[in-house]
Structure formats: structure tokens, C-alpha cells
């Protein structure tokens, strides 16, 4: 690589002139401004999608452990459909194909669309883990809950899920980190997040290495932060007297 040119981030996105303080003012924005806002978009997409994925994934995961065969089938079908088609293809279908079938969907902002697409995709994987977590508990636990007169719902709520979620925190951490990285598909539906910034800024400035390095670092920081947060959560939820770590 030739020489570094970190000044590229201080350039005005309109005329390419370097702005002294690196932050634009009065409607002018620099690449740095742009990148920070892109980071914000990445985080918003990822975190909201994570929320969707956790809710839907837990629900589907629970469905797959219930006694009712039809609900299990429903849960299995959901999981298989959403995990066996590449994310990018799913996003395309949500954005271009489904709205032409259901025209009412056309007015849904693409941000919402990608949050759900990414959320549903990840929910399939989370469902898999939640199911495994519930099934890894001894059968006696649900017997014990039921034997005390708790209903099936109460048994899940007070007995099975609290432990199952503790067990699946490590794989959930991976999924949460993945969702940050997978949020890059949002560029396909016109969300100005980090990947789009990277593609566009390197095209405009021809400083690919600097741009990609900065963007990689931001992804890394985000994923790492999630990892740390989840470790804290894991630590907080650790049950005294239970084996640590796993």
C-alpha cells in the first residue's frame, strides 16, 4: 500500500476539500460525520433486529418444545424456512417481491423492513438455541413445576425459561455479535449504514484501505462491546452454587 492518508475523513463529501476541524458545519458534512451517522444506523438496525430476533426466536423456540404437535410443526417450519435461505436473498424478497404481492407493504419504510428481515433470519437460529436450552434441562424440572400445581405456562415462565436462558447466553452472545455483522445487508435496501458508507466512500475518495480499516474497526468495537455486555449479563445472572462458565 502506498502511503496512509487519514485526512480523507476530514474531507467535505461535496467538494472533497479538507475541513480543518474534521466535522462539517452548516449543511456540509465530512466523511467522518458520515461514518459516525452510518455507525449509528448499523447499531440501530442491529439492536432493533436483535430485539425482534430474541422475541420471535424465543417464542418459536418455546413452540418447538410444547406437547402440541401442530405447534411444534409450525415452529419447525419457521426455523427451516428462515435459516435455509441466504439473508441477502431474504432481504431482496422482503423489499422487492413481497410488496408487489401485498401492495400495502409498499409504504413500509425500508428500515422497518430490514429490521424484520434480519430479525426473522436470526430468530431461526435463536429458536434453535432456545429449544436446545430448554431440552437440556432435566425432564424432572418441568415435572417438579407441574407437580406443585403450576400450569404449563407458569412452569415455563418460572422454572424452565430462567434456567434455559442462562444456559444459552454463550450462543446468544455469538448470535448478537453476528447480527451486528449481518446488519450490513441493510445497504441493499438503501440504509446508509457502515457497509454502504464503505462502498460509497471508497468509490468517491479512492482511499479504500483507510476507509475499510476504519469501518472494520467500528464493526469490531461494536461486536466486542456486545460481547462484553453479554459477559456482564452472564456474570449478573450466574446462579450461586452452579458451575461457572458453562
Amino acid at each position: 500500500m502506498a502511503t496512509w492518508d487519514w485526512q480523507v475523513f476530514c474531507k467535505n463529501t461535496l467538494d472533497g476539500e479538507v475541513i480543518p476541524r474534521c466535522f462539517g458545519s452548516g449543511g456540509d458534512i465530512t466523511y467522518l460525520d458520515w461514518m459516525i451517522s452510518a455507525w449509528g444506523w448499523t447499531l440501530s438496525v442491529a439492536l432493533l433486529a436483535l430485539l425482534v430476533a430474541l422475541l420471535v426466536g424465543s417464542l418459536v423456540g418455546i413452540l418447538r418444545t410444547l406437547p402440541d404437535k401442530r405447534l411444534v410443526f409450525l415452529g419447525n417450519a419457521w426455523t427451516e424456512i428462515f435459516r435455509n435461505v441466504p439473508l441477502l436473498v431474504q432481504v431482496f424478497l422482503w423489499y422487492h417481491v413481497i410488496p408487489s404481492l401485498f401492495t400495502s407493504l409498499r409504504s413500509v419504510p425500508s428500515f422497518v423492513l430490514v429490521v424484520f428481515a434480519l430479525g426473522f433470519f436470526t430468530s431461526a437460529r435463536i429458536a434453535e438455541q432456545v429449544k436446545a436450552g430448554i431440552q437440556s434441562l432435566p425432564r424432572g424440572q418441568s415435572y417438579a413445576g407441574l407437580a406443585m400445581g403450576l400450569t404449563l405456562g407458569q412452569t415455563y415462565r418460572h422454572v424452565l425459561l430462567p434456567m434455559a436462558f442462562r444456559i444459552v447466553i454463550p450462543p446468544l452472545t455469538s448470535e448478537s455479535m453476528n447480527i451486528i455483522k449481518n446488519s450490513s445487508v441493510a445497504f441493499a435496501v438503501s440504509i446508509a449504514e457502515l457497509t454502504m458508507f464503505a462502498m460509497q466512500a471508497q468509490e468517491e475518495t479512492s482511499r479504500g484501505v483507510e476507509v475499510y480499516l476504519a469501518v472494520t474497526a467500528l464493526y469490531f468495537i461494536s461486536a466486542f462491546a456486545i460481547n462484553r455486555i453479554m459477559l456482564v449479563v452472564e456474570e449478573r445472572l450466574r446462579v450461586p452454587g452452579m458451575a461457572g462458565g458453562k
Binding site: 502506498a2 463529501t13 461535496l14 472533497g16 449543511g27 431482496f92 422487492h96 410488496p99 408487489s100 409498499r106 425500508s110 445497504f187 441493499a188 435496501v189 438503501s190 446508509a192 454502504m196 462502498m199 460509497q200 471508497q202 468509490e203 468517491e204 475518495t205 479512492s206 479504500g208
Partner: protein, 277 residues
């Protein structure tokens, strides 16, 4: 960097091509790459063979907008025959042969929309493709004309076109040749048309490594020869006016005055110089 020597020693030359850059450079499937720019490069390769005195094996390396410059720099690609805009920033990293095509950035709209020029864009939705210079062009025009319109970005050109087709966007701002190609291959070409003023003019040229005078000279000589013999006009006609594979669609984009002028006065001036005119 002596590409001619490298090519002579290895007996092979690598052309950078695009999977899908309108009729400038695209694939027919398999390892077949064709297009106006590819044809010019192949002609240049013939001259290189003469210069090094041996037959060369021609490898086609598909490139993308993200990797084409690094690939040329690191020696993977010897001649890039895609659709790369020659601009000042890039000239710091790579060299360009004399301009062989001039893109005029314009708008594609649905015939029924009634949009005729930039002035009609107030309150509309404008599509363009991520990772292209058109995004910047659009940003500048928006500022200059002091207008309010919404921008959406397609992942690639066919996505952006689909945005217009499906009604999510009103216009698609992009290189004229690409727009013409997309319209020609669409299900109902009559539904779309290219309108409006030229938003920016971009010289497109063959790209190669910097500081390789011998190769640059040779390629420029090839181009000059083709202009002189009229071969370049025939090529242009073949790709832009006649039916093209695989669909047999006709792009139907006559040679612009700027291109005619540029071919008459060969140069490799960057895009910035065109804007000043």
C-alpha cells in the same frame, strides 16, 4: 513496473472485466466476457503480442468497483477493461489510457411519469446505485439546485432499475449507457425512457498500472489505430446500435458529440476537466 516484460515472461495477460457493466463489459455466462471495452482491450492484446513477439494466453478476471484498483495495483490485472471513470483521485493511484467512451449521467423514468428534467424532481424519489459516482453527482446537484427529493440506493443497477419499475422510485440517475442497456432488456422497453439534461460527463477509459509508459503508449497507439481505421465506429455500432447477445436487445444509444470530439482529439483528461468546460 514493466508489464510488457512480465507478460513476455509468463506468456499470459490478465484482463479485468465486469460481470455486468451494460454493454461496455459483461458476461455471457461461463468464462465468456464481451462488450465494447472488452473488444478494444482484445485488440490491444493483439498489438502487445506483436510487441513481445509471442502468443499470449488471455485470462479474464472479473472485478468489482471495490476491488478493481487494488487488483490493478497488485498486479493481478494487467488491463482493466470495465467501465472505470477516469478521475483525478484515481490518477494518483493508476494510469488511464486515452478515453474510449464518454458516459453522460442522465435519468431514466417511466414514460407515464411526465418527468422531463431535474426541475421536475421536487418531492420525488430518486434512485441510484450504491458505490457509484452518481451518488456524489446527485448530492452535488441537489445542493446546487436547492431542491428537496428523497434518495434511495439500490444494491446494484438492476435493483435500482427495479425500484423505478416497481414504483418505489420515480427516476434512476445513472450512466446513460447503463440506463439504455437496462431499458432495452426490460420486459417492456416502451415503458421507460431516458430524459433530462446531462448531469455530469464522465470519461471512461482502460486502466492500467501507473508509471508503465511502454504499455500506456502501446494501448494508446492501438486506440489511435482503431480511430484512424474507423474500426472504433464499427465497434460502437455493433454494441450500441445493433442487437446484442444474449437477449438480442438493441441499446440504441447513438454516439454522443463529446465522445466524437474526444476520439478526434485523443486525451486522457480526468472527469474534472470535462466538468469545467
Amino acid at each position: 513496473e514493466d508489464t510488457l516484460k512480465k507478460v513476455k515472461d509468463s506468456g499470459a495477460i490478465t484482463l479485468g472485466v465486469r460481470e455486468s457493466s451494460g454493454v461496455l463489459s459483461y458476461t455471457l455466462g461461463g468464462a465468456k466476457y464481451v462488450g465494447y471495452h472488452v473488444a478494444i482491450c482484445e485488440k490491444a492484446v493483439e498489438d502487445i503480442e506483436k510487441a513481445v513477439g509471442r502468443k499470449l494466453k488471455v485470462n479474464y478476471q472479473p472485478v468489482t468497483s471495490q476491488n478493481r484498483i487494488p487488483l490493478v495495483q497488485n498486479g493481478t490485472v494487467d488491463l482493466e477493461c470495465g467501465s472505470t471513470t477516469n478521475n483525478a483521485t484515481r490518477q494518483k493511484d493508476v494510469a488511464f489510457a486515452n478515453t474510449t467512451f464518454v458516459e453522460e449521467v442522465r435519468m431514466a423514468v417511466k414514460t407515464s411519469s411526465g418527468i422531463k428534467s431535474i426541475a421536475d424532481l421536487q418531492g420525488k424519489t430518486v434512485a441510484t446505485t450504491t458505490g457509484t459516482t452518481s451518488v456524489q453527482t446527485l448530492r452535488k446537484n441537489k445542493r446546487a439546485e436547492n431542491m428537496e427529493f428523497k434518495e434511495v440506493f439500490g444494491k446494484d443497477h438492476s435493483d435500482s432499475f427495479l425500484l423505478v419499475d416497481s414504483g418505489r422510485a420515480d427516476v434512476f440517475v445513472m450512466d446513460g449507457s447503463l440506463l439504455a442497456g437496462l431499458i432495452a432488456r426490460s420486459k417492456n422497453p416502451a415503458d421507460f425512457k431516458i430524459v433530462g439534461e446531462v448531469l455530469s460527463v464522465e470519461p471512461i477509459a482502460i486502466m492500467m498500472r501507473k508509471d508503465d509508459e511502454a504499455l500506456l503508449k502501446l494501448v494508446n497507439a492501438t486506440i489511435a489505430g482503431m480511430v484512424k481505421s474507423g474500426e472504433i465506429n464499427a465497434l460502437y455500432d455493433k454494441w450500441f446500435m445493433q442487437p446484442t447477445p444474449p437477449t438480442g436487445a438493441k441499446v440504441g444509444l447513438p454516439m454522443s458529440d463529446t465522445l466524437k470530439d474526444t476520439l478526434k482529439h485523443p486525451n486522457n483528461k480526468p472527469m474534472e476537466d470535462y466538468a469545467k468546460k
